[in-house]
């Protein structure tokens, strides 16, 4: 009689175990194991947050650090002279391994590595996209970017640009990629097309981060078009 609550607890715990097994069978979160998280100066921060059940916030903080790196560098990861964006691939992978659903980090990193003027490391971009596709196969832009990189390697710029532009209005397309595309058009002397792309960037609320640049570019391209006439 004195130990009746132990029996009740046992039954309830068995029920919890059963419900837990059903829970795991119905849905398995797609997070890579902690052992696969990238090392480096932020390893402790990532592991501490992931162990405490804050993987998505950890990926968010890693994303901010990735943006800081691309905007001018972080003191923990200095680039060697002549090696711009040396750590971009590892920092993008870091976000993707913390939370594979953070597609924008992979797309952002790969677009800079493959198409940013003066960087041009398409193999690293392809590695990044391949890992992204393996962890999150439902994201269609990974395959599209890989195909565009293949066209780039073949020197088929027309098809590469056409393919990338087909994804221009998709919500997942990073603003940086849109800016790269507009600059690609300009570098090919296609000012009218470049102007149209910058105007679409300026008019899209999602591309707020590129609005200031879009305004400057629109003025520059209008002047170029006037001087052509």
């Amino acid at each position: 009689m004195k130990r009746r609550w132990l029996g009740v607890a046992g039954v309830l715990f068995a029920l919890a175990l059963f419900a837990g097994s059903r829970l795991r069978r119905l849905h398995e979160p797609r997070f890579p194991p902690l052992a696969e998280l990238t090392g480096g100066p932020f390893a402790f921060q990532d592991a501490a947050l992931a162990v405490a059940g804050f993987r998505a916030p950890a990926a968010d903080l890693a994303w901010i650090q990735l943006l800081q790196y691309t905007a001018g560098g972080v003191p923990e990861l200095p680039d060697r002279p002549g090696h711009p964006y040396e750590h971009l691939k590892s920092l993008s992978l870091r976000v993707a391994r913390l939370d594979p659903s953070f597609h924008r980090a992979v797309l952002f990193g790969s677009s800079i590595l493959a198409w940013f003027h003066g960087i041009e490391r398409p193999d690293e971009a392809a590695d990044l996209l391949n890992e992204g596709m393996r962890r999150s196969p439902e994201q269609p832009l990974y395959g599209l970017y890989l195909a565009a990189i293949a066209y780039k390697k073949q020197g088929d710029t027309d098809r590469m640009v056409a393919l990338l532009e087909s994804s221009f209005d998709l919500p997942e397309t990073p603003s940086t990629m849109k800016a790269i595309l507009a600059n690609l058009r300009q570098s090919r002397g296609e000012y009218r097309e470049a102007l149209a792309l910058w105007e679409r960037i300026r008019d899209n609320e999602r591309d707020r981060s590129e609005h200031a640049r879009a305004k400057a570019k629109i003025a520059e391209l209008r002047a170029l078009l006037r001087s052509r006439r």
């Binding site: 004195k2 130990r3 609550w5 132990l6 009740v8 607890a9 046992g10 309830l12 715990f13 029920l15 919890a16 175990l17 419900a19 837990g20 059903r22 829970l23 795991r24 119905l26 849905h27 398995e28 979160p29 797609r30 997070f31 194991p33 902690l34 162990v51 405490a52 059940g53 804050f54 993987r55 998505a56 916030p57 968010d60 994303w63 901010i64 943006l67 800081q68 939370d99 594979p100 659903s101 953070f102 924008r104 439902e138 990073p174 603003s175 999602r206 591309d207 707020r208 981060s209």
Partner: protein, 254 residues
């Protein structure tokens, strides 16, 4: 039932007046404000950052509140000897403990609701609106809070030390989020003993890794069935811990 509701109402009012709870809520507001500022650095992902960091702040505050409140819930009354006065009345110990626990969870849930309302309003200002999934995430967070509350109460009664109970509660919180890793390690372990121990631990600890809707929000959503089983899991685990707490409480001599 009347005893439970009377103790529940008294506990709820006590916590509403409690300064520690109010400072927790204030700290939560600061964290929510911080999420708003930090998310401004996220460029294209501002909405995602506001959502993740806001929900994480609400959960962290709720965890700290529930552990602190439940660990002290009965221990303070034992130390001040107020428990003698209460138990000298015709109050069953199980009813008393259940009322105290439910009142505490309700007070923390109220704090979560206030923070969530402010967070959802902020998200709404930035054009985000997904009430169904938001409520599901909040429900899972409340489930985790209730499980942690029951575990902390059990630990405080079994260990009779606030510091030890809080330390073990935090350890179990971490272990709960480590359950997938423990199964991963068990799969790769060559030792049968280690494998069995890891699987046993992963089942005995609360499985927060599979219960963390807030964290896998951006992944494909689980089905409605999953939510039902999640609710059952939280209820059964909480009730099991409470039953053990009642067992320990009934064996204490006052």
């Amino acid at each position: 039932m009347q005893t439970i509701s009377a103790v529940y109402a008294y506990t709820f009012k006590e916590h509403i007046r409690h300064k520690a709870w109010l400072s927790g809520a204030l700290f939560g507001l600061v964290l929510l404000g911080g999420a708003l500022i930090v998310s401004a650095l996220g460029q294209d992902e501002r909405g995602r950052l506001m959502l993740d960091l806001g929900l994480a702040a609400i959960e962290a505050i709720s965890l700290v509140s529930i552990v602190f409140l439940t660990v002290n819930l009965i221990l303070v009354e034992i130390e001040s000897r107020a428990i003698y006065l209460i138990l000298s009345h015709p109050v069953r110990r199980a009813d008393y403990l259940l009322g105290r626990f439910l009142g505490t969870v309700a007070a923390v849930a109220l704090g979560m609701a206030v923070m969530a309302a402010m967070h959802a309003a902020l998200l709404g200002l930035y054009g985000w609106w997904e009430p169904g999934r938001y409520l599901a995430a909040l429900g899972c967070m409340l489930g985790k809070t209730a499980v942690m509350g029951a575990l902390s109460l059990l630990l405080s009664l079994a260990l009779t030390s606030e510091a030890a109970a809080m330390a073990f509660a935090v350890f179990l919180w971490l272990l709960g989020h480590f359950s997938s890793e423990m199964r991963f390690l068990a799969d790769r372990s060559g030792s049968a003993f280690l494998k069995t121990a890891l699987v046993a631990f992963s089942h005995a600890a609360p499985d927060f890794a599979h219960f963390n809707y807030r964290d896998f929000w951006h992944q494909p959503a689980p089905s409605a069935d999953w939510l039902m089983w999640a609710a059952l899991y939280a209820l059964a685990y909480t009730a099991a811990c409470l039953a053990l707490a009642v067992q320990v409480f009934e064996q204490k001599e006052f």
